[in-house]
Amino acid sequence: MDAIILQILNGLDKGSAYALIALGLTLIFGTLGVVNFAHGALFMIGAFVAVTLQRILSLSYEQIDPEKTDFLGNPLKVQVPYVDSWFGADVGAWLIDWSVPIAIVMAIPVMLLVGFIMERGLIKHFYKRPHADQILVTFGLAIVLQELVKYFFGANPIQTGAPDAFAGSMDFGSLLGFPPNSIMYPYWRLVYFLFAAIVIGGVFAFLQFTTFGMVVRAGMADRETVGLLGINIDKRFTLMFGLAAAVAGVAGVMYTPILAPNYHMGMDFLVLSFVVVVVGGMGSLPGAVAAGFLLGILQSFASMNEIKSLIPGIDQVIIYLVAIIILLTRPRGLMGRAGVMEE
């Protein structure tokens, strides 16, 4: 039983990441009608905003420590972060320690800006072009973005830990009446799940309760009408794209302590997130979220030894198997509408 609850937690956690990426992808597709293969790259850029902030906070000057020697036998140059000398060692260390949560504050404007530039500079010219063109141009962009990141940050994963305050695990089982220490779950993963829930809730509330959201929802239901509503639709599209980029970006920031970011993490998530979106039903926000969690949980269960020993390799194919079954039984995914992306 506790093993199952643990796998559900794992699944929710995986599902959070899938759902957040799929949410942004669906926002872009639903409103702008653009298939964005660079969405994974936005997730990756978000993660590297956290890395960059950590690097900035750790910017150091060199101090010669005559006591020690470096690998060539010369006196060791010790790196002292500027923040340490400005704010004192304690505050400095705290800032570096908390770089991931702080990066969220930074990531939102950065990602909005990235989204705006992408939409204004490139995507807007592709609204009327065939989906195949959109795929090719955004795929090209994704490659360019990840190669730039590789150029500056290298190919090796970069560790960006969670703040020490979130290190360790919470005794989740005792909340549910299990004996102590039977279900331990890392704080940061719980934080990630809560964070994802908040972001998803926020996006839905935004769409539900604001005028802007109403226009967007109207657009997702019927793109023609948005045109009729007409008041500066361009600006709204840009904003929409920025919002989707920001959602992907903060999802990336928060994921860094779970998965050390590297330059190709966007590509790794790309295929998966498209499967999620399609299983949920193209253009359906609730569908994307539901499919994200569903696939996350199923994947976790498929990874259990008991199931793997019955069907070897099931954990490697479960996502695809589920996608096939769902698409064959529900022609347009879980919550898709007719006619979207079927021509």
């Binding site: 298939v35 490139l122 010219h125 072009r129 989906h131 195949a132 063109d133 795929i135 090719l136 141009v137 795929f139 090209g140 962009l141 994704a142 490659i143 360019v144 990840q146 190669e147 730039l148 150029y151 295929v271 498209f274 499967v275 399609v278 299983v279 193209m282 070897p312 390799g313 490697q316 194919v317 996502i319 695809y320 198997l321 996608a323 096939i324 698409l327 064959l328 022609p331 347009r332 995914g333 979207v340 992306m341 079927e342 021509e343």
Partner: protein, 400 residues
């Protein structure tokens, strides 16, 4: 001049393609071997073979995507299946490529029939994701659980203790076609140039010409017309008494067989079948080739395939040493600056250049490289004739 049931225009076109293909070893070797530009020569057997093989793959993919508009993201699965078939035939029978290639086409057709039958129940992106899912399952399983069959990460290869029941005393010990050994070449030295005529290349090239001819026939056939009609308007086709499903399935199976043949040829040139051949990136690569070259056109896929393979093999090898060689005549500061800039685009950053080129081509040449070629041709023709007859040529039948 008409032949092989083709119109005059198509016959000329085919003859040009044949000539270009057969002369490839010379055409791709424009720089003398001692010049610094020899780096850009592409006339060595492996790359020429790849041009032909990926040309076949892309031509086949174009029959599905270019004509019917169904975008498969899983064609790499057939490529892999084809390769495994050929290597297994090496292991069981011997190094003659014929049994393997036949098996590759049959097995990939069966796979395509199965995957196509299921996936074609849906259209649009749902179809794409279904094919992707099937291919990724094949890849993941081939990489891990199916290792006894595929030799996993290492790739399936021939061991000395394999059965090889048809191997005679004097049989060649590498892939051959009834004694014509694939990796043997003849070299021709003229002046500073050296041209390499490789058996394997000509074997793949002749097959490529054959399948190109087949695809030309398909494009011009009533079947091809129906496929183009499917892309345009399935509703009308249904209400015109046409059952579209068998047409799309036939197109899917044909393109799967092309892919299987291409995979088989890969293993015929180089007796190893790796699982990465089935990964989604490999499926994506052929999509890019076709779109980059010009989907739905006859030459586009071949151009796209050549373009991407050229980049992968030539640009990735330009390292600092080479750059220094090129810019050595410049003053030091400028030399270092230029090398620094080049760093972004060549050697380990060749992906970046490829990504940029994708973007540029799609932005400025929506019809792919073929459209670029047409524009240039039209510009020339306009200049010649004062721009009067360009209009009639600008509207070729969709399958130009």
């Amino acid at each position: 001049m008409k032949m092989l049931g083709l119109s005059k225009k198509d016959t000329t076109f085919l003859l040009i393609v044949i000539a270009l293909t057969l002369l490839t070893p010379i055409l791709l070797q424009p720089f003398p071997a001692s010049s610094t530009l020899a780096q850009f020569n592409a006339g060595y057997p492996d790359l020429m073979q790849r041009f032909a093989i990926f040309g076949i793959f892309a031509i086949g993919f174009n029959i599905l995507f270019g004509l019917t508009g169904y975008l498969s993201f899983g064609h790499a699965a057939f490529l892999g299946v084809g390769s495994y078939s050929v290597v297994w035939m090496y292991k069981l029978l011997g190094y003659n490529v014929v049994p393997g290639l036949i098996l590759a086409i049959i097995v990939s057709a069966l796979f395509a029939l199965l995957i196509g039958f299921v996936s074609l129940r849906r259209s649009g992106i749902y179809f794409s994701i279904l094919t992707l899912a099937f291919a990724q399952m094949c890849y993941n399983l081939a990489y891990s659980v199916l290792t006894p069959l595929t030799n996993g990460e290492t790739g399936l290869q021939v061991y000395t203790n394999d059965a090889q029941v048809l191997m005679g005393e004097n049989s060649p010990t590498s892939p051959h076609f009834f004694g014509i050994v694939m990796n043997e070449s003849a070299t021709w030295n003229v002046g500073g140039w050296q041209f390499v005529f490789n058996n394997g290349y000509y074997f793949t090239a002749i097959i490529a010409i054959l399948v190109f001819y087949l695809s030309l026939r398909i494009f011009r056939s009533p079947f091809g017309l129906m496929l183009r009609a499917i892309k345009t308007n399935q509703t009308r086709l249904n209400y015109t008494g046409i059952n579209t499903r068998p047409y799309t399935l036939a197109a899917f199976v044909i393109s799967g067989m092309y892919a299987g043949l291409a995979g088989g040829l890969m293993a015929s040139m180089d007796p190893l079948a790796g699982a990465e051949r089935m990964q989604w990136t490999a499926s994506g690569e052929v999509v890019l080739m076709v779109i980059l070259g010009g989907a739905g056109t006859l030459m586009g896929p071949i151009l796209g395939a050549g373009f991407i393979k050229y980049f992968e093999n030539i640009f990735s090898k330009i390292n600092d040493q080479v750059l220094h060689g090129w810019f050595a005549f410049l003053p030091d500061g400028l030399e270092n600056f230029l090398i620094g800039v080049s760093h972004f685009f060549v050697g380990k950053s060749w992906h970046l250049t490829l990504g940029l080129l994708f973007m540029l081509v799609v932005i400025f040449l929506p019809g792919g490289l073929v459209e670029g070629g047409q524009r240039i041709a039209n510009a020339f023709r306009k200049r010649k004739s004062g721009g009067d007859d360009a209009e009639t040529e600008a509207q070729p039948s969709a399958a130009e």
